[in-house]
């Protein structure tokens, strides 16, 4: 996260995407404790394909990003791909065909693929000897390496790691946002963004 200086006209909203996006906050478990990345990466060894499974906004992409960074440091990453639409399958298949044997391709948003594209990707990966680690909202026929879930302690731990909100957000706000958005952390952070904007403009 860059060191940023601003002047009085600018309010740095600590809940903006640049502070909360995957990679900006380290991966945390459901209790809000830092995840043991070494153990997570070790648990993936030997699995040709594995999934990080959990509902919307519960930290799957953050964890996948951290796994990819850890694998890159060891020279074992074949890249990180974020699927946004079904036709991104073309890029996925191309990435698998380019991957070195034994490398790992991290794929965010596996459920965007239709059944034929997903089956083709899995077959290509097997033939190329390329490991797939994917995120999905529900089980996708691969072993589930990690299951994520939103919790209030996790939201509190994330907010504690964001830039200072100057006391404009209280613990009760976190609980309220978390309840309103049924445990979706991304939406809860969006809600807190709005509360911060409203309050900072009253100062």
């Amino acid at each position: 996260m860059p060191d940023t200086t601003a002047h009085s006209r600018h309010h740095r909203n600590p809940f903006a995407t640049r502070h909360t996006r995957p990679g900006a906050v380290p991966p945390l478990d459901d209790e809000g404790r830092p995840r043991d990345l070494v153990a997570v990466v070790a648990s993936l060894a030997g699995l040709p394909q594995a999934a990080i499974v959990g509902p919307h906004g519960t930290g799957k992409s953050t964890l996948l990003k951290a796994i990819e960074v850890a694998l890159s440091a060891g020279g074992r990453s074949a890249g990180h791909l974020r699927l946004q639409r079904r036709r991104d399958a073309v890029s996925l298949h191309a990435a698998i065909l380019r991957a070195r044997r034994g490398a790992t391709l991290c794929v965010d948003g596996w459920e965007r693929l239709g059944w034929p594209e997903a089956a083709t990707a899995r077959l290509l990966a097997r033939l190329r000897g390329c490991q797939l680690v994917v995120t999905a909202h529900r089980a996708v026929g691969m072993p589930t390496a990690v299951r994520t879930g939103g919790s209030l302690p996790l939201l509190e731990a994330i907010v504690d790691r964001l830039p200072d909100h100057g006391g404009l957000i209280e613990r009760a706000d976190l609980a309220d946002a978390f309840a309103r958005h049924a445990g979706n952390l991304r939406d809860s952070l969006g809600d807190l963004y709005d509360r911060f904007e409203r309050r900072v403009r009253r100062l």
Partner: protein, 138 residues
């Protein structure tokens, strides 16, 4: 303690803008002078300096680099100082909105031996778009 575990000193990047209020009009020339303190200048391999805008808000972010310079390696034994200038464009203008903001900044990025880097951003205003207010508020 392993040397790699020793706490690293964080640099302090001071940027002096030619306009003291950091407010510039479109097509005006931005001129800045910067100083890096708090570290041994010999540890810095490269200093990148850029002028850019980015969006900040709840959704996807966007970014545009207006000016980018990567001068040669800093002179050994000299303090890390520098200056540069560039004309600013007509748009996008700085905007302090509710769900999205457009920010202009001078970004100084230091690369150290070993691959570590440090980024320091210094915001300024381009244009004079009023700050957005919540509906119903004066």
């Amino acid at each position: 303690m392993n040397p790699s575990e020793a706490p690293r000193r964080q640099p302090v990047v001071l940027v002096h803008f030619s306009m003291a209020d950091r407010h510039y009009e479109p097509l005006q020339t931005l001129a800045v002078r910067y100083t890096v303190e708090g570290i041994d200048p010999r540890d810095v391999k490269v200093v990148e300096r850029s002028v850019l805008w980015y969006t900040e808000g709840k959704g996807e972010e966007d970014l545009g680099v207006h000016r980018f310079e990567r001068p040669g390696a800093p002179a050994i034994g000299r303090p890390l100082v520098g200056e540069f200038s560039c004309p600013l464009p007509l748009s996008p203008l700085s905007y302090e909105g509710l769900i999205v903001k457009i920010r202009w900044c001078v970004r100084i990025r230091l690369f150290f031996a070993g691959g570590r880097d440090f980024v320091s951003e210094h915001i300024f205003d381009l244009g004079d778009v009023p700050v957005a207010a919540f509906p119903g508020r004066p």
